[in-house]
């Protein structure tokens, strides 16, 4: 039918134009896109190559691997766009609701739009790698081609079904808040296999086989198995798979129809208490107390802060877990010290882009800050608020690590080392915050921490901060790990010195380029 072809061409073109429009006039975005392209091509080639290598494995292992890989693709397609919602205008059906499009046209169009792009292509190529890796004989290849296409279609419609049915909830504030934190859960899920493999839970082959024997009956598992089978059973499996695709597509069209006419769920705003808290009792009245109070409230209320704090804690716990697994039993006072120092680093890294979360609201500080000293106080407030939350956490890490490794005498030293790296991190972060500022998107997703086009800045900033903190903390951490525990006694003072000097430098640089910092953190996301 020509109208279907027309719709496909129209929406495919629209998507390409949106992609191109995003790149216009901005060098950073062009570079970012070039980087994405290089990565995508690399991943596609590597993925295809790895999938074809599966052929070298024994037949049953090969089939198991493809079953698991296909299922991972399907699940990723369902989760990833959800977390990255808002990066792609064609994904939001509400933008199209005013056009006189029939539901079928809309469905074909949105399907085309979601199939057009770099990542769908990569998926298709890597999925096709299973043909090279698994298919045997003419039947296997023929069924394989069908299976690959069906698996690809299933990934797309399943991902569309999930985003569409949740789209009205996702447009509300609360829905987005929940999702922001849910993004972390996804990261954990992705980390889980890694952990399991690291901790030698059992024979990886048996593990693979166990997983595959269950996943084999999922739609994506059917696709993988059909390629390996290449006979009548495979054909039957493909029929089932095709029916699943059609059913999911039908559900998606229904959800689309509903999403277009259902208004956003309204959010009832709750009220917050009026208490000004402990801060005012201990700090002199003034800008410093104002910033500390505000930052503490933000740490509590802003989902992006909850996410970064939660991830700092989780990453530290993961590190502790893997360090604990590697050694053979308790390994002396070095471990708690290194671990607490690491925790201090993880927490301090949050302030490597101190103004990023304030983002577009930062003008309010910018019109009030009239001197280097003002900016320095602003930074000090952020550091103090962060430290108020960090100190008890570091204490907990130090105590837990000290007891766990059977060296309670190291607890005090570990805490000192943690505070030291925290201070060093604040100092370094003050400088990176004003030299390489970038916007933290409203909707934090698990894959980029920066506004479109600022991915490079984000990487440069966090790498720079990480490197700086490691270098400047190395003296006391290395000395302590090699036995000179007493060095840690100086760590907090060393950290404080680094914080003061770094903050001074940051304020000096930052005040001179306040408008530029403001512009960098106010990018549209």
């Amino acid at each position: 039918m020509s109208s279907v072809a027309g719709t496909v061409a129209l929406f495919g073109g629209l998507k390409l134009r949106l992609l191109a429009g995003n790149l216009r006039g901005d060098l950073a975005r062009k570079l970012g896109f070039a980087f994405t392209l290089v990565m995508a091509v690399g991943l596609a080639l590597l993925g295809f190559f790895l999938m074809s290598l599966v052929r070298l494995a024994p037949a049953d292992v090969a089939a198991d691997i493809v079953v698991v890989v296909f299922t991972v693709f399907l699940v990723s397609w369902m989760i990833v766009p959800l977390l990255a919602f808002g990066l792609d205008d064609t994904l939001d059906p509400s933008r199209l609701s005013l056009f006189p499009l029939s539901m079928g046209t809309l469905a074909v169009g949105m399907f085309t739009a979601s199939a057009t792009g770099v990542w769908p292509l990569v998926t298709l190529i890597v999925t096709a790698g299973a043909l090279a890796g698994l298919a045997a004989g003419v039947g296997g290849v023929l069924l394989g081609i069908l299976a690959v296409l069906l698996q690809f279609a299933l990934c797309l419609v399943a991902s569309r079904l999930v985003t569409t049915s949740l789209s009205s909830a996702l447009r509300t504030r609360r829905g987005r808040d929940v999702l922001a934190v849910a993004a972390l859960g996804a990261v954990l899920v992705f980390q889980l296999p890694n952990l399991l493999v690291n901790s030698d839970v059992g024979d990886p082959l048996a593990l693979l086989h166990g997983a595959a024997s269950v996943l084999r009956w999922t739609p994506s598992g059917l696709a993988a198995h059909a390629i390996a089978d290449g006979g009548l059973v495979g054909l039957a499996e493909l029929v089932v798979l095709a029916l699943v695709v059609v059913a999911v597509a039908w559900l998606w069209i229904k959800a689309l129809g509903r999403a277009l006419v259902t208004p956003d769920v309204s959010t009832q705003g709750g009220t917050v208490g009026k208490g000004s808290g402990l801060v005012d009792r201990f700090l002199p009245d003034g800008p410093l107390a104002a910033v500390v109070t505000k930052e503490l409230k933000y740490i509590r209320r802003e989902p992006r802060y909850r996410v970064v704090w939660f991830s700092s804690v989780v990453v530290t716990a993961l590190l502790a877990f893997s360090i604990g697994n590697q050694g053979d039993g308790p390994s002396g006072p070095g471990t708690p010290i290194a671990l607490t120092a690491m925790a201090g680093l993880m927490i301090a890294l949050q302030l490597g882009n101190a103004f990023g979360i304030d983002g577009r609201s930062l003008w309010m500080n910018a019109v009030a800050i009239g001197s280097e000293r003002g900016l320095s106080i602003d930074l000090a407030g952020r550091h103090l608020a962060n430290a108020l939350v960090a100190a008890p956490l570091l204490l907990a890490v130090a105590v837990a690590a000290g007891l766990f490794t059977g060296s309670p005498e190291a607890i005090v030293w570990a805490l000192c080392a943690g505070l030291g790296t925290l201070g060093v991190g604040f100092g370094i972060g003050s400088v990176t915050s004003v030299v390489i500022p970038y916007t933290v998107p409203e909707r934090l997703n698990a894959f980029t921490g920066a506004a479109p086009g600022q991915g490079g800045q984000a990487v440069a900033s966090s790498m720079g901060a990480l490197l700086g903190i490691v270098l400047l903390s190395a003296p006391f951490v290395v000395a302590a790990v090699f036995g000179a525990l007493w060095v840690c006694a100086f760590a907090p003072f060393y950290g404080l010195l680094a914080e003061v000097l770094g903050r001074r430098l940051g304020a000096k640089i930052g005040f001179a380029r306040l408008p530029e910092v403001l512009a960098a953190v106010s990018k549209p996301t």
Partner: protein
Amino acid sequence: MTDAVRTTALTKRFGAQVAVAGVDLIVPAGSFAGLVGPNGAGKTTTLSMITGLLRPDGGQAEIDGLPVWRDTLEVKARIGVLPEGLRLFERLSGRELLIYNGRLRAIPKDEVERRATELLQVMDLAEAADKLVVDYSTGMRKKIGLAAALLHNPSVLFLDEPFEGVDPVSAQTLTEVLRRYTASGSTVIFSSHVMDLVERLCDWVSVMSRGQIVAQGPLAEVRAGRSLNQAFLDLVGRSPEQGDTGLTWLGSGEQR
């Protein structure tokens, strides 16, 4: 009488596009001034440069005779700003936002709390004072933004599109507060493209088009006997026959 705001040859370009091409804006102290112009005329860019939020490529800006980009401390203490786009600290309540703002400017806490309560009362926000700003409506955001800009009693107030998207009741509240504020000798400069409003409120008008000031002076002078709307259309230079050509298919409701 000194000028509250005076810029000379203020310029800003974004890439190849010149947003502001040498603006000489003058606003006498104590006036209620309107900065009008079509979309994209450079109003927001100009205001951002005068308030120290955007670095100009060239030219000078002075507030109460003080150069904005050199006497930063002094200038920032004197101005209040409500930028476009309602960008506020979303996760504070209205009251917390005002208190934060005041204390950031080193006003004692008790005094800030007193002023915040009064402002919330006047702005008709007392009931929503302890709700988070993220849940505020457009009108409420404009009002809390204006309250935040007024809190430290600035001598010059810059408002970018303060009435856009505001319901008539809130708009009335806003204008009452602003009238009272200028009556005491302070200066308000606001950008708008609603000519009726500017005509009703302002005693001084600056008209911008394509990055330049094309007319400015007391309202009556700029109007020169016409309605402000007509004067604006004449100044911005849209020839009447432009509207007559093309669009022959429009109207009568025939579907192709």
